[in-house]
Symmetry: C2
Subunit: 222 residues, 2 copies
DNA sequence: CTCGATTTAATAGTAATACTTTCATATCTT
DNA sequence: AAGATATGAAAGTATTACTATTAAATCGAG
C-alpha cells in the first residue's frame, strides 16, 4: 500500500495556482510544512517562507492568497490522504467491526512514517493537524468557507466511518458525534500529552490513545 | 445555588492589575466578552475595546498585557465558575455515579442563564469557551504558560471528575483522557452544530449532546 | 533558434495590528 | 491641600499581511 504511486487531487478552490504544477509550488508547500512545525502557525509568515526557499514573497501569493488558505490546503491534503488510506485498508474486508477498528486506529495512531510518494512529509503534516488545524475552522469566515466546500474532505471521511457505525448498529443515534469526537479527541490527547500531560493518560509506547478510543467506540455503539 | 453572592478569585499571575479592583477594570472584562463574541478573537483589538468603553487603549494595557492574556483570564474565570458549580452541585451526594452524571451534564449542557452575581455574562462566556478557548492553549508559549499555572483551574476540574470515575471503577485506565475528551468534545459538538452540522447529530431541544456523552461515559468506564 | 507568453524576482508601498512611551490631567486618600 | 495613584491623549515603532508595478528569466511552439 505505502509505495503505490497514487496522486492526491485537491479542490481547485483551495489554491490560486496549483502548487503541484511547478517546482516552486512544491517547494512552497514542502517548506511551509517544516516552518509551520518549527515556528507555529502564528509566527509563520510568507515573508519568512520566501527567505527560506530563496524566493520572493509576492511569488508565494500567486499560489495561495493567504497563509490561512495554505493551512486549509494542507488540511485538505491530509484528509484526502487519510481517506485514501481508509478506503484502501478497508476494501475487501467484510466485517463492519473490523472496518471500524481499522478506521479508529487510522484516526488515533501517531503517524510514524513518511511514505514519500509525494513532496509532502506526512509525519510533520500530522503534527500540524494536531497543533494547528483547529485554527483553520475556528474563524469568523467558517460559514462562508464551508459553503465553498473547504471542509468537504473531512466531512466525507466522518460520513464514511459513521456509515460503518450504522452498519454495526443501525439504531445508534449519534454516529457523527461519535466519530468527530474520536478524531478531535485523539488530536487533543496527542497535544495534551506534549504540553498539558495532566489532562491525559498517554504513556510512551503503550498505545493508549488507540486503545482508549477503540474500546470507547466499541462500548458506546452497542 | 444560583443567587449566592460567591466571589471568584483569579490567580494574580493572570493580570497586570486586577480588573475587579476598579470600575474600568470591570468594564474592560465585561465589554471584552461582548466584543469577542461579536467580532471573534482575531478581529477583537484593545483599540476597538477602548473606543467601545470610551477609554484609552493604554489604560487597558495596564490591566492585561495582551489580548491573549485577557483570553486566558476569561478561561480561568470560566473554569473557576464551573468548579464552584461542580463542588456545590455534588456536595452531600454519596453515589459516585450520581456525582459523575452531574459533572458530565455540567460540562456538556448549554449555559442558558446568566446568574449575574458578577460583572460577567456567563452565557456569552460559555460561547467564547466554545469558539475561542482552543486558541488560548494552541500557542508556542504553552509550555511556559503552563509552568506559570495558567491552566491550573482547568486541570483541577479534570482531576476532580477523574477521581469520580476512579471511585466508580478504580481499575479504569484512562480517566483523564475520558474527561478531557468529553469536555473538549462537547465544545466541538456545539461549535459544529452551528457551523459544520454534518459533523454532528445535534438537534434542537433534544439534549443530544448531554445524552450522548452521559451514555458514552457510563458505558466506557464499566 | 527565436518570438511571445508565462513565471518569477525585486522593490516599494499601504493599512492595520500590537504594542510602548511620555506626559498631562483627573481623582482619591490622608 | 498635598501627594499618590489612575486614567487619558497623543505619538511612535516594528511587524504583518497583503497589493501593485515593473523588470528579468525561462519555457514552449513554430
Amino acid at each position: 500500500m505505502e509505495s503505490l504511486p497514487i496522486h492526491i487531487t485537491i479542490n481547485p478552490e483551495l489554491y490560486t495556482k496549483n502548487p503541484e504544477s511547478s517546482d516552486l509550488g512544491k517547494k512552497i508547500v514542502q517548506t511551509s510544512i517544516e516552518m509551520i512545525n518549527d515556528l507555529g502557525f502564528e509566527s509563520f509568515t510568507f515573508r519568512k517562507l520566501g527567505v527560506a526557499i530563496g524566493s520572493n514573497e509576492s511569488s508565494i501569493y500567486r499560489y495561495f492568497e493567504s497563509k490561512h488558505a495554505l493551512l486549509v490546503y494542507l488540511i485538505n491534503w491530509y484528509w484526502s490522504w487519510i481517506e485514501y488510506k481508509l478506503v484502501f485498508a478497508t476494501t475487501n474486508i467484510t466485517s463492519a467491526k473490523d472496518k471500524l477498528n481499522i478506521a479508529i486506529t487510522l484516526f488515533t495512531q501517531e503517524v510514524k512514517e513518511d511514505n514519500s510518494f509525494t513532496f509532502i512529509n506526512e509525519i510533520l503534516l500530522n503534527k500540524i493537524i494536531i497543533s494547528e488545524s483547529v485554527k483553520a475552522y475556528h474563524t469568523k469566515d467558517i460559514d462562508e468557507e464551508n459553503k465553498k466546500g473547504f471542509y468537504k474532505t473531512y466531512k466525507r471521511v466522518v460520513q464514511r466511518v459513521s456509515d460503518m457505525v450504522l452498519e454495526i448498529n443501525p439504531k445508534f443515534e449519534f454516529p457523527h458525534m461519535l466519530i468527530s469526537t474520536v478524531i478531535e479527541g485523539a488530536h487533543h490527547q496527542r497535544y495534551f500529552s506534549q504540553h498539558l500531560p495532566s489532562l491525559t493518560d498517554v504513556e510512551e509506547g503503550k498505545n493508549n490513545v488507540v486503545r482508549f478510543y477503540t474500546d470507547l467506540v466499541q462500548k458506546t455503539i452497542v
